[in-house]
């Protein structure tokens, strides 16, 4: 009984904030677009009964997604952008986490604070700040022109490069924190032992430090990869018109085509794609917990 009360709140939470909205989205994805409020039919009414209602639904919108190249290309391009940004974030984040973990204990809280500090400002404002930095007449170009490294401004804003910069910047803390927590627990004597046994510092890093921080790396990668896949704000503000991401396609379906059913179908498929990394992530977390016990 006590067990039931313990697990009831999280399950109620999941039911209310995940399952119910998801069922609504699936329901809309099976309807047809219409010029009405709300802009789809059929509308559900108890009077007609559930049977008639379900008989009016079909999978037309899902077959539609397979007929046009746009959708799978957008999914693929999002997967590519998410993968590349995750790798970039790892490359930038790992050394930072490593440095934090190796710093003396009186410095660690300050360093931790510096990683978290950007969260104190709105995410949107920070992305706008990047627009100011990267634009043709922005700080970066003016600085580079002033130093004489370049003589014509670099075009960065409104390209995929700007999208990568924005994503790496925004999601960096999500990469650093789990890696840091894995590295912090790392027993320094293990590395000493490896070095005593003839490892160079680099091989000790490869053979001891990296494997022992694996859980942190995996957790960090998923925390970056999953939200990046559906990212909308960063590509639409920093990206150009040719940075194709599924988040933008979804937006177009909703706003330009006013086709909520197709938009919902796009969202359902996005979720199905995300389930794979989410399940893998869960497994990793579970393994880690078991290992700790």
């Amino acid at each position: 009984m006590r067990r039931f009360f313990l697990i009831a709140p999280p399950f109620a939470w999941l039911l209310l904030l995940f399952l119910v909205p998801f069922v609504i989205v699936v329901k809309i994805s099976l309807s047809d677009a219409a010029l009405a409020i709300p802009p789809y039919v059929p509308k559900f009414s108890w009077a007609e009964g559930i049977g008639t209602y379900f008989s009016q639904l079909d999978f037309e919108n899902f077959t539609f997604l397979t007929e046009d190249d746009l959708y799978w290309k957008a999914y693929l391009s999002s997967l590519k952008i998410a993968t590349v940004s995750t790798i970039l974030t790892l490359l930038v984040g790992y050394p930072m986490a490593y440095g934090m973990a190796r710093a003396s204990s009186e410095w660690r809280p300050t360093l931790m604070m510096l990683v978290i500090l950007p969260f104190w400002t709105s995410f949107l404002i920070r992305v706008y700040a990047w627009m100011g930095i990267l634009s043709n007449e922005g700080f970066l170009n003016q600085f580079l022109l002033w130093t004489g490294i370049i003589d014509t401004p670099l075009i960065i804003l409104n390209t995929n490069t700007a999208v990568y910069i924005g994503i790496v910047y925004t999601y960096l803390p999500f990469m650093i924190l789990p890696i840091y927590s894995a590295l912090e627990r790392l027993d320094g004597s293990l590395i000493e032992a490896a070095e005593d046994l003839g490892c160079s510092r680099l091989t000790a890093f490869w053979l001891v430090t990296i494997p022992l921080s694996k859980t942190g790396i995996i957790a960090g990668c998923f925390l970056v990869f999953i939200p990046t896949l559906g990212e909308f704000v960063i590509p639409s503000l920093l990206g150009g018109s040719n940075s194709l991401m599924i988040g933008k396609v979804l937006w177009e379906e909703f706003f330009s085509n006013r086709d909520w059913p197709v938009a919902s179908a796009v969202a359902v498929i996005l979720l199905l794609i995300l389930i794979i990394p989410i399940v893998l992530f869960q497994r990793n977390q579970q393994k880690q917990q078991e290992a700790e016990q």
């Binding site: 677009a33 010029l35 009405a36 409020i37 709300p38 802009p39 046009d68 190249d69 746009l70 290309k73 957008a74 634009s135 043709n136 007449e137 014509t152 075009i155 409104n158 150009g240 018109s241 040719n242 194709l244 396609v249 177009e252 909703f254 706003f255 330009s256 085509n257 006013r258 086709d259």
Partner: protein, 361 residues
């Protein structure tokens, strides 16, 4: 706390809530009003005004069609208004509450009636044209002094665009405005609803696509004013605002606006009251306030757009009423075209074509 003080606190809280209960929520385009008018409305009526902005008709339409937007007054453009009226999104206006409606200009009302029959659901706020804004110095630098700044060939001829690409070209992210312009450029009917004719715009736009830096419907104001870009297809008043911001900043940037000689789209932004507006009474008061000749003149003087209010014209400043970019002369007026909303199936094709043009897929 004793029971007595608790009751008292509750009463005080309730009565102060009642005092501020009268609210009106307005959802208008960004950079589209003199903010002093907002405080003036609050002072005159005692109604608290909550003013919120958007920068695309699509965003507004999605809110309207979702229902329950919570807004009392919204400002869709003609074709969008027409579609939303059909969807049942707006309530008919109560003319008895709009004593200032006699100020309106019949020339404009006649044109807006094609979107809103008898102007039963909306009043005109502003109208304008979609044309080309240029950074005069940078365009002359790229194309020479005889650059075709008054013609669509400036932005639709790949030879010109190739030279302009380096200094930056922005297009509105609005297929319903850019596609008609491309059709006008090749001599087709800009208001065509025939998918085969609309498809002819695609090669025109794809040819110049590599030279367009961004499709966006509000960033170009600042980008032009700062000198980040040298050409933008945009809305007349927005480009004139960019001109003024550049002049105020005194940064050496000089902006000019032209309605293209091949014809320019004339559009109308209409104020309407959603069918589920929480406070239609106050919404009517706001509409009536806006239709006041003095207020409308103040708004136009501030945003550099023409309005549909005849009585406001004597109060307009000379650089507004006297500027043919804002109040076009007879010849230009003849050259302006209007468009109708696309049917649903055509709309999907248009959006799909737009995505293809923008992303190449």
């Amino acid at each position: 706390m004793t029971l007595k003080t608790m009751t008292l606190t509750a009463i005080v809280a309730l009565s102060s809530a009642a005092a501020t209960a009268e609210e009106v929520r307005v959802y208008n385009w960004s950079d589209y009003i003199d903010e002093e008018l907002l405080t003036k409305f609050e002072a005159e009526t005692g109604i608290k005004l909550i003013y919120d902005v958007f920068d695309s008709n699509e965003v507004l339409e999605t809110k309207m069609l979702a229902g329950g937007s919570g807004y009392d007054v919204v400002v869709p453009s003609g074709t969008f208004l027409q579609r939303q009226i059909i969807a049942g999104a707006f309530q008919p206006l109560d003319m008895a509450k709009l004593s200032n409606s006699e100020n309106m200009w019949d020339v404009i009302e006649k044109r807006t009636a094609q979107y809103d029959p008898d102007n039963a659901h909306s009043i005109n706020y502003m109208w304008g044209t979609t044309g080309i804004g240029i950074n005069t110095a940078k365009v002359a630098e790229a194309l020479g002094d005889d650059a075709p700044v008054g013609s669509l060939s400036l932005v639709f001829d790949p030879a010109n665009m190739e030279k302009l690409a380096n200094c930056g070209v922005h297009f509105l992210d609005a297929p319903s405005e850019i596609i008609p312009a491309a059709l006008a450029y090749i001599g087709e009917d800009p208001d065509s609803q025939d998918p085969d004719v609309i498809a002819k715009a695609e090669p025109v736009l794809s040819a110049i696509r590599p030279y367009v830096q961004k499709f966006h419907s509000s960033e170009y104001i600042n980008a032009l004013a700062n000198g980040d870009i040298c050409v933008a297809i945009g809305w007349s008043g927005d480009i004139l605002q960019a001109r003024d911001r550049a002049a105020e900043a005194d940064n050496g940037v000089e902006i000019a606006y032209n309605a293209p000689s091949e014809g320019a789209l004339m559009w109308f932004d209409q104020m309407a009251i959603p069918v589920d507006a929480p406070n239609p009474e106050a919404a009517h008061k706001f509409l009536n306030f806006i239709m006041d000749a003095g207020n409308m003149a103040a708004a136009s003087n501030y945003v550099y757009y023409a309005n549909g209010n005849k009585a406001s014209q004597p109060m307009l400043e000379e650089d507004v009423i006297g500027d043919p970019a804002i109040y076009p002369d007879e010849a230009t007026l003849q050259n302006l075209y209007t468009t109708r909303p696309y049917p649903v199936k055509v709309q999907r094709k248009v959006t799909r074509m737009w995505t293809k043009i923008k992303s190449g897929i």
